[in-house]
Amino acid sequence: MLVIGENINASNRSVAKALARRDRPFLQDLARAQAVAGADFIDVNAGMEKGSCEQQMATMEWLVEVVQAATDKPLAIDSDIPGVIEAALHKYRGERLIINSVTAEPEKLDSIGSLTAGRKAWLVALAMGNNGMPKDIEERLAACELIMTHLTRLGVKAEQIFFDPLLFPIAVDTSQGLVTLKTIDQIKSRYPEARTVLGLSNISYGLPNRRLVNRAFLLMAAYAGLDAVILNPLDAKMMSFIKVADMLTGKGTPRGYIRAHRKGILVD
């Protein structure tokens, strides 16, 4: 399972402050810590604080430069504004990257899809259109179909697409855990070349012991066929569960699991 480290996100108050005062060491430490903890990609979200589009682009450009000076890990450019994504791509020196994200809205698919085509980029596509959060599986699959048709027409390959089936708090609606799991399963069987990704921590919103809930859901999602996950890699138990899940689903091997054990990164 591919791990996208979520910690550098402007919705995180300490990160927002660091961005505002251009605190290089703080953000670089956060990037390095996630890389050491085993993140495959480092997500960078520069927020959409007040100010013009130019200011947002400038903040994103600065952030991309700062993070890639700290780690060799590829980045996940976290924005839904084409101009901001373009600004990030302009500064990005790496080859592989993730663009996070696009929804099933034609204009956005056009602009962000064109940025993805012809690059060594993966694109996270949320299974929702402009009617808001879809409540059932069918609505999500309809959004995926629209995305797939639209993007392949633009020259984006199916294997570049990471569908996010969306995950809502189980505290609010107890049907939503299974809805997400079944959607993953359906996406995998309809588009075998495409992949799936989830922002895991949504599931536990409003509950105590959130990490426990997140870990349990990770195992269920791994069984449903989840390929990548956006989470806090500094949760060592979670990272151990990912190693275990990889082995149990045959994505990883027992020997890979043992290597992780020898490195001392498995936490019981």
């Binding site: 959409m48 929804t103 808001g132 708090p169 409003g206």
Partner: protein, 230 residues
């Protein structure tokens, strides 16, 4: 007798039990009458609906809010209590009309244009219904014009706007400006909320109030109502 009934209602709102089949915050509650059954019974005994609301529901929800604040209660506990009140309010409604008691007021809620997040708005809606307000939910991704049209048509006392993104909260300002242009700004109190919202932001765009969570939204609305009446 009436006292016992009202305290039983209060207790079951705090437990978050709509019917006798529901579990509560504590174990072993299934099978005992829930808020719906107790409300029916109270009406049959001739207890004043206003008493049920004020001393049964409202006092209980204050306790629920306190328990939520100190993290004894979590989101599902709070939602269960609000749902219990919401269901019981439906039972009471025809009786309120008959006895000439005015409902607390109407609020239109919406998540603004460009923003598809509706979980926060839905939670607040449940709490407002639980506090006795009539809630009309326009949904999410709603344009300023559609919101202003609804306000002009429905004439609610309150308008609640939600946004989860810093990029979409600007639509709140546009909505308030359009309310002014359309000449209905002074007819409605605007309260706003969402992750990127602060008291400071609310003031800067000329909103009447800001709620950090659903309970605060209710408190702000009660305070604004008192001001209106006084």
């Amino acid at each position: 007798m009436a006292e016992d009934m009202i305290s039983l209602i209060r207790e079951n709102v705090i437990q978050g039990r709509v019917t006798q089949d529901d579990e509560g915050f504590d174990e072993g509650k299934v099978g005992q009458p829930g808020v719906s059954e107790l409300t029916e019974k109270a009406l049959a005994q001739g207890i004043n609906p206003e008493d049920i609301i004020k001393r049964g529901f409202s006092e209980a929800m204050v306790v629920v809010g306190q328990k939520f604040e100190i993290e004894e209660y979590f989101l599902p506990d709070m939602l269960a209590s609000a749902e219990a009140v919401g269901a019981a309010m439906e039972i009471l409604e025809p009786h309120l009309v008959k006895s000439g008691i005015k409902p607390k007021g109407k609020i239109i809620v919406a998540t603004v244009k460009g923003d598809l997040h509706d979980i926060g708005k839905n939670i607040v809606s449940i709490l407002l219904r639980g506090a006795g307000y009539t809630v009309e939910d326009l949904g999410n991704n709603i344009t300023p014009q559609a919101i202003v049209d609804a306000v002009a048509k429905e004439r609610p006392q309150f308008l609640g706007l939600s946004a989860l993104l810093t990029s979409t909260r600007i639509r709140m300002r546009e909505t308030i400006e359009l309310l002014t242009e359309s000449g209905v700004r002074d007819k409605v109190k605007v309260i706003i909320g969402g992750a990127p919202i602060s008291e400071e932001f609310a003031q800067s765009i000329g909103a009447d109030g800001y709620g950090a969570d659903g309970f605060e939204a209710v408190r702000v609305m009660e305070a604004l109502s008192t001001n209106v009446e006084g």
